[in-house]
């Protein structure tokens, strides 16, 4: 196994552990804002995971996936925070 292959595998493993730890906060979080924070973090780590997969499979097809993941994470977190603030998303 090459050096980069080992590093990518380790990084993907660390990302997976990070998502699992954030899932604990997602299910346990005492308030709704804790859950939104954990979900936003999971979206972020999934975006980084896409970039790591792009290196792993040596293909630039994953960038569009990472871009979409980042944008959807932002839109969903902003919409949920707006919902907590106002009780409706679009006013």
């Amino acid at each position: 196994m090459t050096l980069i292959g080992f590093a990518v595998t380790t990084a993907l493993l660390l990302y997976s552990i990070a998502i699992c730890v954030a899932m604990v906060r997602l299910f346990r979080g005492p308030h709704a804002q804790d859950r939104i924070l954990a979900l936003d973090f999971i979206f972020l780590v999934a975006t980084l995971m896409m970039l790591a997969l792009a290196i792993r499979y040596d293909s630039s097809m994953y960038f569009e996936g990472a871009l979409l993941m980042a944008l959807f994470g932002f839109v969903s977190s902003a919409a949920m925070a707006k919902f907590l603030l106002r009780g409706e998303v679009i006013e």
Binding site: I4, A18, I19, A22, L48, A52, D58, L71, S77, L84
Partner: protein, 118 residues
């Protein structure tokens, strides 16, 4: 060879940043403290894996490929918006529920919110 080592080191740094910030998300005791934890992943994690991708694909294609950096820029632009919205929502909900909220940064008495007169 040096490029490979650099890419591997940046990947490991990014994974470690993600793990550290998830542990912070789990272990800090207050929501307003917990909001600080994902910032490590938003800055160090995304910057280091973006640099790793730029180095790896630039070496592979023998030219400078910067389109990965777009993801990092988008993350850097959108993170503060989400954070401010979420912090305001959490402040609002904590005030409504009568829970303790952090003290304002200015020591002077807070100015009451007045609607602007048209």
């Amino acid at each position: 060879m040096i490029n490979d080592a650099l890419v591997a080191a940046l990947l490991l740094v990014s994974g470690a940043a993600a793990l550290i910030s998830s542990l912070g998300l789990l272990r800090l005791r207050d929501f307003f403290l917990r909001m600080h934890a994902p910032a490590i992943c938003y800055t160090l994690g995304s910057w280091s894996i973006g640099l790793a991708s730029v180095l790896y694909f630039s070496a592979g294609e023998k030219q400078l490929t910067l389109h990965v950096w777009l993801v990092v820029v988008i993350l850097a632009v959108t993170a503060p918006i989400t954070t401010v919205l979420l912090a305001r929502a959490a402040l609002f909900r904590s005030r409504q529920a009568g829970r303790a909220i952090p003290k304002p940064l200015l020591s002077a008495a807070p100015v009451p919110d007045k609607p602007l007169e048209e």
